[in-house]
């Protein structure tokens, strides 16, 4: 029997290039910390918005903090350049995610390349963090089939356009990994709007009942296009929905990357240890429009977005790293330059992808094309000749 290599991943690898210093005591401290934050109605944080450390006991190693910062910078570079490229007519419809980098990069950074990632259309940052090449990602938003051809060494799915459908699929992938004797996990993303969908509830129930090693990220970013969370649901704490399915639910400051990473890392360890799924609500904000085609001034005030800019996840960690001397002005400038150059090189690569030919419409429907597909191909080729 041909069996996939069952790679057992050590926690050491949980963030590339990082030595884990986790101890059971720290795990317990974390549990206590969320509980305390929950009880006081506050969000679990490690870094305050001004970059000061509120939980020194939970601060990850400097190397991890730097890794997370780089990932957020790469994501922000994509988001900012994406908007410009759209204006220049070099990108199709693009859903910006700027301001949500901590929610996406901190969570995805807790995975390894053996794990599954099921991102929504707004989770470019998460996909880039797991290792989806920038050029492929650009190609996807350029509506080129090169963006659909996912790299063979990654288990990241193309961005999901329907809402919440990826949640039950992540449960299946997680269960399959478990059946195959690996410790690999599946992580799926959703927004606050998506938590109204039946698939969300069915997936949480299935994951709990079948003990799937699955991590559900619920990014509460305030708006589902024009509908605010307060219209979406009467619930004010979406992480509590996990209670109904007998699985742990955690609510975290989604603009504090150290907090999102820490909580997700704990959830991933639980999942690898066959302790089952976790729902993580990252409380964040979609600072920009739903997509480049949306006009948020029709449904919300600029003041609201401005308030959230003060909680910006990237500058929050930046201030901390500079203060701690983990970054200097020089090394910071060098990092930004590197990230910008990486993006431009990828853009050049994406520019070189050839356009598809018309008959490619009919490719990849089945392993073997049906007689009907063959006939339609012949007709199409004749028309195009």
């Amino acid at each position: 029997m041909a069996r996939k290599s069952s790679t057992v991943t050590s926690t050491k690898d949980a963030v590339q290039g990082r030595e884990s210093t986790e101890t059971p005591a720290a795990f317990q401290a974390a549990e206590a910390a969320y509980n305390q934050a929950e009880a006081s109605g506050e969000l679990f944080q490690i870094l305050a918005p001004d970059g000061t450390v509120v939980r020194p006991d939970l601060l990850p190693p400097a190397e991890t903090r730097l890794h997370l910062y780089r990932q957020m910078r790469r994501a922000r570079q994509f988001d900012e350049r994406g908007w410009v490229l759209y204006r220049q007519g070099r990108l199709g419809v693009f859903p910006p995610f700027g301001g949500m980098e901590a929610s996406q990069c901190g969570t995805a950074a807790a995975l390894t390349k053996n794990d599954w990632l099921f991102p929504t259309y707004r989770d470019t940052g998460a996909a880039l963090t797991l290792g989806l090449p920038i050029a492929r990602t650009l190609a996807y938003w350029r509506t080129s089939p090169h963006g659909w051809a996912m790299p063979a060494d990654l288990k990241v799915l193309p961005f999901y356009i329907p809402i919440a459908t990826q949640y039950p699929q992540a449960v299946g992938a997680a269960l399959a990994e478990k059946r195959q004797g690996t410790q690999n996990v599946a992580m799926a993303f959703i927004g606050d709007g998506g938590s109204s969908e039946g698939d969300f509830h069915e997936a949480l129930n299935f994951a709990g009942a079948l003990n799937a090693p699955c991590i559900f990220i619920l990014q509460n970013n305030g708006w589902a296009i024009s509908v605010p969370t307060t219209t979406q649901t009467k619930a004010t704490n979406l992480s509590k929905r996990a209670d109904g399915y007998g699985i742990p639910g955690v609510r975290v400051d989604g603009n504090d990357v150290l907090a999102t990473w820490h909580v997700t890392d704990q959830a991933v360890k639980r999942a690898r240890n066959n302790e089952g799924p976790t729902l993580i609500e990252t409380v964040t904000y979609r600072v920009k429009a739903h997509t480049v085609a949306d006009d948020p001034s029709r449904y919300r005030t600029e003041d609201e977005a401005k308030k959230w800019l003060e909680k910006d996840p990237v500058t929050r960690l930046e201030q901390h790293l500079l203060k701690e001397g983990i970054l200097t002005e020089e090394s910071h400038a060098a990092l930004l330059k590197e990230v910008a150059e990486e993006f431009e090189a990828a853009l050049t690569e994406a520019d070189a992808y050839p356009d598809p030919t018309p008959a490619e419409i009919l490719d990849h429907v089945f392993a073997e094309p049906t007689p009907q597909l063959l006939k339609q191909r012949a007709e199409l080729l004749e028309e195009q000749a």
Binding site: P168, V171, G172, A176, E177, Q180, D199, P371, Q372
Partner: protein
């Protein structure tokens, strides 16, 4: 060889598939301990273990959605939807994802998934237990649709569906589960998906049907034969891929076509067959094509008049007479 009903042949096929390939797993509502509401999975959990044959919570969308994830990660999921009329909550997973995974990943991923669902009427089930939604699936790019009409076909086609690298919907006529018996080889074998079967040969009229309607067509053909009319019955066996060659060869020979399904009339798969015949073989036709179908109304659970909705041999015989008298 062993005499088997269709449900026994299906059970036998699932057993062999589980034995043959450790990646195959079967799941759905009541498929485990109970062995399925029709006993199609009877004894499989006891034999192959709870890891491979398991009950799920009750939610069709999640059953199919979870199966998609399992298929992505290298397993061969065989999901059971308890009745085809309960398939609708899962349509988002099927239309949005199951059918397009290969396409939207340029074959980086493919889904070797089978969804089994009992379909159709004829056994006086309650409301919503007798639907024939095959046209919805046939209209969905990227999924195959198989509907067997004999125990031997059911086994060979189901094993082919499980071995197929792409998603296959496998509809099982509730009426035929126990009403037909035949000698079926006990060993593993497959039948090609996309190949129709000529049930009876005849020179005067072609009757095209599948699943539960094959039995009905056979009874009508018998009556016609007594009246001196030679009926050729084509059992499509699979709707996607469609074996149009066999259909056209027969219609070109007989010059007359009657299409029988128990699905509602408008936009049914019968219309697809009629359109193809009109496009490809109109010069051979000696009479307009006639469809014998259900009605554009929900399937009635009223025992006294169920057979009015579901085509019976008399209606098919009348259609044959009509095309013959044109």
């Amino acid at each position: 060889m062993k005499t088997m009903t269709m449900v026994a042949a299906i059970n036998n096929a699932l057993d062999l598939a589980l034995e043959r390939d450790p990646d195959v797993c079967i799941f759905g509502e009541d498929v485990g301990v109970m062995g399925g509401v029709f006993r199609a999975t009877d004894g499989l959990q006891q034999k192959h273990g709870v890891e491979r044959v398991f009950d799920t919570p009750l939610a069709e969308a999640a059953i199919v959605g979870m199966g998609i994830g399992m298929g992505l990660a290298g397993l061969k999921p065989v999901a059971e939807i308890q009745f085809a009329g309960f398939l609708y909550p899962a349509l988002d997973q099927i239309l949005s994802h199951l059918g397009r995974y290969r396409h939207r990943t340029r074959s980086r991923y493919h889904l070797p998934m089978v969804v089994r669902a009992p379909y159709g009427g004829g056994v006086h089930t309650p409301e919503q237990h007798a639907d024939s939604p095959e046209a919805i699936l046939a209209h969905t790019p990227g999924v195959k649709v198989v509907i067997p009409s004999t125990p031997g076909d059911a086994k060979g086609l189901l094993l082919a569906a499980i071995a197929d690298p792409d998603p296959v919907f496998f509809f099982e006529s509730i009426k035929l589960y126990r009403s037909t018996k035949e000698e079926v080889p006990e060993d593993y074998y497959t039948l090609p998906i996309g190949k129709a079967r000529v049930v009876t040969q005849g020179d005067d009229v072609t009757v095209i049907c599948y699943g539960g309607m094959v039995e009905v067509a056979q009874k009508a053909a018998e009556a016609a034969r007594n009246a001196g009319i030679g009926v050729e019955i084509i059992d499509l066996r699979t709707l996607v891929p469609l074996d149009l060659d066999t259909v056209l060869a027969s219609v070109e020979k007989t010059g007359r076509a009657v299409i029988v399904t128990e699905a509602p009339r408008t936009a049914g798969f019968h219309s697809e067959i009629a359109a193809n015949i009109a496009e490809e073989a109109i010069d051979f036709l000696q009479a307009p094509i006639v469809r014998v179908t259900g009605f554009d109304a929900p399937y009635p659970p009223f025992t006294a008049i169920e057979d009015v909705y579901r085509p019976n041999p008399l209606r098919v015989a009348k259609a044959i007479k009509k095309v013959m008298s044109h």
